[in-house]
Symmetry: C2
Subunit: 470 residues, 2 copies
Amino acid sequence: MLSSTVKAQIISIVSASNFDDTKTGRLVYSYDATPNFQSMPDAVVSPRNKQEISEIVKLCNEHKIPIVPRGSGTNLSAGTCPTEGGIVLLFKHLNKILEIDEENLTATVQPGVVTLDLINAVEAKGLFFPPDPGSMKISTIGGNINENSGGLRGLKYGVTRDYVIGLEAVLPNGAIIRTGGKLAKDVAGYDFTRLFVGSEGTLCIVTEAILKLIPIPETKQTMLALYQDLEAAAKSVSKIIASKIIPATLEFLDQPTLRVVEDFAKIGLPTDVKAVLLIEQDGPLEVVQRDMARIAEVCKDQKAVSVQIAQSDAEAEALMTARRSALSALARLKPTTILEDATVPRSEIARMVAAINEIAAKYDLNICTFGHAGDGNLHPTCPTDSRNLDEMARVEKAFEEIFEKAIEFGGTITGEHGVGVMKAPYLELKLGKEGVAAMKAVKDALDPNNIMNPGKIFAKDSRKRVVVSK
Amino acid sequence: MLSSTVKAQIISIVSASNFDDTKTGRLVYSYDATPNFQSMPDAVVSPRNKQEISEIVKLCNEHKIPIVPRGSGTNLSAGTCPTEGGIVLLFKHLNKILEIDEENLTATVQPGVVTLDLINAVEAKGLFFPPDPGSMKISTIGGNINENSGGLRGLKYGVTRDYVIGLEAVLPNGAIIRTGGKLAKDVAGYDFTRLFVGSEGTLCIVTEAILKLIPIPETKQTMLALYQDLEAAAKSVSKIIASKIIPATLEFLDQPTLRVVEDFAKIGLPTDVKAVLLIEQDGPLEVVQRDMARIAEVCKDQKAVSVQIAQSDAEAEALMTARRSALSALARLKPTTILEDATVPRSEIARMVAAINEIAAKYDLNICTFGHAGDGNLHPTCPTDSRNLDEMARVEKAFEEIFEKAIEFGGTITGEHGVGVMKAPYLELKLGKEGVAAMKAVKDALDPNNIMNPGKIFAKDSRKRVVVSK
């Protein structure tokens, strides 16, 4: 609960209409897209500009009130659940594309801009902002920056981090600083731009970003390769890349996922095969055609039972839309959907897929696997029910083993979803005690009162949990 | 001076043959490629592996002895001058390419590997490591990582940071940690990989790196566009990019630089024009041809007096070699060469070149300007003589104004050379007091005893200086 003095001070900063501490108002922001971490904030605040953000941060720093910056809450690691109370900070007033600079190939945006709106705006000018997280229709750029979001085009184009070249941010002490700029090169001091990207709101509040754009690829083609052998599909992925072709997108869907997606999207996906690869290449037409022919050869060499190139833009779009609907489709199966993003070097995908299936069998769970195979970024997904405590305990153990396997194969506990609350207990698996301690030292240095999204990234205790029962 | 106890301890760690505190031995490592910052280390130490590095770091941390990690000392910001004494750490025993992984497109290397050796090794496998700093024939990967080195291919391919995906590093407390991995995506905790890249040896000792490789471009072509108008040359740069072509290399040389380079390289460069652009595009042949034709059109539209495509690989190579020799050529003119790397948004190059020339005239100095125009990364270079105190005072003032202009145009004080000692007093110009304070807080958190390359990045006082007189 905020004291009446603090409440009055916040209202004096943002005005009464941008402050909400009603129960219904708070309830709306008590959860995000992650199951089972619901927790109530003390208030929901919508500042109108960076000066107001700075004043709020100073006030919260003085009173040690947690601040949870929140875009659209689409993250999958409970990164925006106000697990320690405090205020949820919304960016609905900071939602403008300030500039698209065609000479410097940059966009300057406020954090509340919806990702797809930015993508559409730059594409209208023949430019391209590649990061395309699954939630891009509703996610915000600010959220993408805080989570260093990935997406389907990560293989060829990289992730959000690779397109953020400058930031304006409010530090926990209220200082407003700028990093980077419209600059292809800048080595003036530590790379705070990249330190802040993916810091999950634990180091600063991003108030503006300069994004790098590239020319939009001239054309693209989409291909579906079908397999009766999971390992052959997985091996095709590393063979394609070892043959020195980097497709824009290289997605994997196993049979259980395929069946659910087809049932949802009804576009005639094959459901009688064990796995498919959905492959997209973009670029100049002649290069795309050449690459696609070579990719088809590699897939056939690796025992693909069928390789089909989409014959129209509409067909290609339908395939990609179906893939993008995988989470929504899986979420219909059971009340609770646990979707993970264990990531391995791409040479280990075959072993990782096999390991996931073994673990699922061991714990008698239904785990569907799909994901960005070209990045080694898999999404093993378990449709379950958080009320079934026995099954949840097995889900818990299964995912712990999946994380351990990913690390054993040289991978990581999270490729693109972030650590949040959900994976904080597993962070040490990846970084070791000393690695976590070093990161925590940076956090403590910049945010000594631990007001910035507390409880995220760094675990309070070492109890492992993918879900909590309430 | 190291105490005899500490000296004995270091020798017991690395063996006597890897310890040198003779005057001649120390003299060799008392300077780097930066003029006028010579200072003697107390000893030169060559550990044989990471365990030895960890032990040395622990010892130095206990006794608060500065450690200056050093590759080949080619940096231009006095980043490896032992200005506060202590030990210079060499990596001559950690000089192996440990693996080139063709499935995951990675190279795992020790810090002492020479950049060009790595480039050649990966190219032999049809792969490509783009960062190509001017000193790549002798610079080391470890040095490149510490400085986040750029180069001629930065425009299309980015800088060293964009190709480092994992590190093994010894922290100031002696802990050996690993960041990242052979992973296209990894968001497990803060991005320490990128925090360490470009941290100039002030946060950790890098002991191993996983580098991202890409397929080698199939072909390349080189073009020389000549101008009688500096501004037209500069404008061509942003016009080329605004026309949605990103060349691999887009270099600018003004007439004074051209004359010096031609005198040095003798390959028939035109010396009667005011400026040239040296442009390289790589990729599939048909795309390169199309891009080069369009680039030629843009240059002609912008009043280029001549546009010539190199007719053979030998001719192209000669042009690039000439450009790469610019620093060496300029260094022959006078005893002291002050080469800077003020960087601006590429749309501001024309104004920046004009400003540099005005400032040179104002202070009666000869300043030659060349550089990576596509990146907005210019190298205004002043051949001078550090014994001429009057001229040095003017050089000082001129470069201070150049930095201020770069900031005024939305740029930075250093695009690729690093802050080091030389530009530490100017860092606040770019980051503001609060930005510098935040970076210093991170430094203090990880290195509380300030043993890691002390005096670099963060200025001891605010006295501005490009050179010091001794």
